[in-house]
């Protein structure tokens, strides 16, 4: 019973940053901008939030500054990828390498193995227990005792669905992605829409990073995002870039991570092996989704349009 509760709690816990990155990445994906820089943006969020919390001594100022830093990173990506029309893959890859190098360099420069801010941020106090619900077995562990950004991430699923399908901005993002010429012909500034889409992604990735580092552990370790940005891209792809469906895939990956951690407790000397579960899961899910897709198409060899 206790194990089940732990697995469910950890599932939500590990899903939150993925959901944020998925929801942020959706906009760029819908606007036909391939943003593989999600990983770098998330790492930037994790690194800069911890750094600024250490420097300012305040959690929320630290988070805010880290969102600003990541937005600048988003602007750099947009400038090269959208304005200068460079290759998205190379630009995104550049972002990823740049942030990884920057954070490692700063750690070396500060002569720290990692940045620990537990003296400033008390992690247990950040967990919000919901009265009444917390006492219900199973459901309580599922819904209660999470941090603010975790709750925000789940509420955002609904918000993003509304923005994407009910507002002008959402319609424009989809139009720019589907037929840029149509958007231009009625005077929609497609460049501005693409910039906005990338920047929303950057802001949400910053929150994801802050959640991962400061809010949950009060700690930044080198390369701590460990491929979560790429897992988010996989979730977007599998869910057809629909907010709810892609978030469900994010939760599935969260579950895989949670299972890996909780089951590793029983594995003794080979517990390290369980680390690969989430990544193995990604490969299997991607393979399954692609297999279904390619079974449906009867077209040989060449790509249509």
């Amino acid at each position: 019973m206790n194990l089940l509760s732990n697995i469910l709690y950890d599932m939500i816990y590990h899903s939150a940053p993925l959901i944020l990155a998925v929801l942020g990445g959706l906009f760029a994906h819908k606007a036909n901008v391939l943003n593989i820089g999600l990983e770098g943006m998330m790492l930037m969020g994790a690194f800069s939030s911890t750094l600024f919390v250490m420097l300012t001594g305040n959690l929320w100022i630290g988070v805010l500054l880290s969102v600003l830093c990541t937005l600048i990173l988003g602007l750099i990506f947009s400038f090269f990828g959208i304005t200068m029309k460079s290759n998205f893959i190379i630009t995104g890859f550049g972002i990823n390498i740049f942030v990884l190098a920057l954070s490692s360099f700063m750690l070396k420069y500060l002569q720290m193995a990692n940045i620990n801010v537990s003296s400033i941020v008390n992690v247990t106090n950040l967990k919000i227990n919901i009265p009444f619900i917390k006492d219900i077995p199973i459901v309580g562990s599922l819904l209660s005792g999470h941090t603010l950004i975790t709750y925000i991430s789940f509420i955002l699923i609904l918000v993003v669905s509304i923005v994407m399908y009910k507002t002008k901005f959402g319609v424009y993002v989809r139009v720019v992605g589907e037929n840029e010429e149509a958007a231009k012909s009625v005077g929609i500034n497609s460049t501005a829409i693409k910039y906005a889409a990338v920047l929303i992604g950057a802001a949400l990735c910053a929150l994801a990073g802050a959640n991962l580092a400061v809010e949950r552990m009060a700690l930044f370790t080198n390369n701590m995002t460990a491929g979560r940005g790429f897992i988010a891209i996989a979730a977007i792809y599998c869910g057809g870039a629909k907010p709810v469906k892609s978030s469900i895939y994010a939760v599935i990956f969260g579950l895989a991570k949670s299972l890996a951690i909780n089951l590793a407790l029983f594995a003794g000397p080979v517990s390290g092996l369980f680390e690969i579960v989430p990544y193995l899961m990604i490969v299997i899910v991607l393979f399954a989704v692609s297999a279904v897709e390619s079974r449906r198409t009867k077209i040989r060899g060449f790509k249509l349009e």
């Binding site: 507002t167 002008k168 037929n179 005077g187 009867k298 077209i299 060449f302």
Partner: protein, 515 residues
């Protein structure tokens, strides 16, 4: 005062002059047709009118005032609207969302009496009502609620027209509006033109189809090689005169075809109950069956998007069939790959010459042997024989009159007509037993069209079997011995080419079955 006036309008791309000293005056409330061959510079001119391209010289006046457009939005604000040949619509949105794109109506949030403000949420109900009223005002046949990807091409065009009318434009530019319509839809469009004219709109019609020009326009302007070569009142001219101005010489508007009877000949190609599905599991080919005999041209007519592309893809090995069979002289060739099809004697002229027929960045001689490079004469021990290949390409270039600057240049330098002739030369000269020819003259100049048509007829007289797919109904009717009509993935009718009646074929193309 003129609606639009171009004075010495010029457009240059580097050394290439697309438009030179164009002088045109469009009279308010009239329908002016601008005609010319493909590549004559009509589209460039219209793009300058609509703000999509900036002129390199000259002046453009709208309603008497000189204008300089930076984008199409400026043009729309000046009362100019354009209906493009390739629609600028978003397939996944509804008709009303497409029409109101960029000018969405937002929901009001009312907080007691006077206080109200705009919410960011779109008011779909109000949008739908507005658009339905617009549709009714102009007596268009359209449903505001339909998703654009599900409606017919003619309906899509009406959406484009309404998109412009909603923005209160007085001058409408139509770029090749009838290229993709059935004969009946063309008639409906011409009626719409007259209705719009009655309401005081000025219309500019760009086309190379002379029937429409004569039927609907008040004035004809002919453009050739980027210059205005003639301008006539429609009442005082004829199709022959316009054609002569367009091409610069007398043109035979009809192909000279020897009639002969293929009924008794041997069956070459036999397709039985062929089926396939698209990515969404929808049947796009539904029980297609036909036979082609020696010395026969079978034409496939239909509005684009009714399964012709898929038929050609399946028959040329680019797509898998889910059911049915294909036989060539009793040999089963169902679902064989293109290389096997070619070696068993099928020549393939694909639909899109640059996507499937040619490699743009390779040399002309490489393209002339592509697909036949395993031929023993051209390749020994896995190595291509350069000299032999050049000999072969030289003879093909000569024989098919391909006009090139240099043999080792890229295909991308060639005009559409000459690029198409490379494919035609390659496939026709491989001595095939059967030919699949799809859209052989799309975007090709009149001179090359004549040439390609004659080559197709020559092969027919050599007793080859030919499958001809084209969206140009006149092409199908001029060349084919028999015509089948496709609608929604099915064959809905068959007529003899000799006494084909475009009215009857048009009805079948629209889904009205023959009986």
């Amino acid at each position: 005062m003129y609606a639009i006036e171009a004075v010495n309008l010029t457009k240059k791309y580097g050394d290439f002059v697309a438009n030179e000293d164009i002088n045109i005056s469009i009279v308010k409330g009239e329908i002016t047709a601008i005609v010319g061959e493909n590549g004559a510079g009509k589209t460039t001119l219209m793009n300058m009118f609509f703000g999509l391209q900036k002129p390199s010289g000259g002046e453009l006046r709208v309603q008497g005032k000189e204008v300089s457009f930076n984008s199409s939005l400026d043009a729309i604000n000046c009362g100019l609207g354009m209906v493009h040949q390739h629609f600028k619509l978003v397939p996944s949105l509804t008709v009303f969302e497409n029409i109101l794109l960029g000018t969405e109506i937002k929901k009001d949030i009312k907080i007691s009496g006077k206080l109200s403000f705009k919410s960011p949420i779109i008011d779909r109900k109000q949008e739908k009502k507005t658009v339905q009223k617009l549709i009714d005002d102009y007596k268009f046949e359209l449903n505001a609620d339909d998703i654009v990807e599900n409606i017919s091409i003619g309906a899509k065009q009406r959406v484009e027209i309404l998109k412009m009318l909603y923005r209160n434009v007085d001058i409408l530019i139509f770029d090749e509006p009838t290229a993709v319509l059935t004969p009946q839809e063309v008639d409906e469009l011409l009626v719409s033109f007259k209705e719009l004219k009655k309401q005081g709109k000025t219309i500019i019609l760009i086309t190379h189809k002379l029937r429409e020009v004569l039927e609907v326009s008040d004035k004809v302007v002919v453009i050739k090689r980027g210059r205005v070569v003639g301008s006539r009142a429609t009442k005082e001219t004829s199709a022959a005169e316009i054609a002569k101005m367009m091409v610069g010489r007398e043109v035979i508007l009809n192909v000279n075809k020897k009639e002969k009877d293929a009924c008794q000949n041997k069956v070459v190609y036999c397709v039985k109950n062929l089926c396939t599905e698209n990515n969404f599991g929808k049947k796009v080919l539904d029980n297609i069956s036909f036979e082609i005999k020696e010395g026969e041209i079978l034409g496939v007519a239909g509005v684009e998007g009714n399964g012709q592309s898929e038929l050609v893809r399946v028959l040329s090995g680019l797509m898998e069939a889910t059911g049915g069979s294909v036989h060539l002289y009793n040999r089963d060739i169902t679902n064989k790959w293109p290389a096997e099809l070619r070696s068993s004697g099928i020549g393939i002229v694909p639909e899109d010459r640059y996507a499937q027929g040619l490699c743009k960045d390779m040399t002309i001689s490489d393209n002339l042997i592509a697909g036949y490079h395993n031929n023993e004469k051209l390749c020994r021990h896995g190595l291509l024989l350069k000299k032999e290949i050049e000999d072969v390409s030289d003879s093909l270039i000569e024989k098919y009159d391909i006009r090139i600057a240099e043999r080792n240049g890229n295909v991308s330098q060639l005009s559409g007509g000459n690029a198409q002739k490379i494919i035609v030369a390659r496939e026709f000269d491989s001595n095939p037993r059967m030919l699949i020819v799809s859209q052989p003259t799309r975007g090709v100049d009149i001179g090359s069209i004549e040439f390609i048509h004659n080559k197709i007829l020559e092969l027919r007289d050599e007793n080859k079997a030919i499958l001809l797919v084209s969206s140009e109904l006149s092409e199908i009717m001029n060349l084919s011995d028999r015509i089948i009509v496709m609608y929604k993935g099915k064959i809905v009718g068959e007529v003899q080419g000799r006494n084909a009646d475009s009215e009857k074929i048009g009805l079948m193309m629209a889904g009205v079955s023959a009986e």
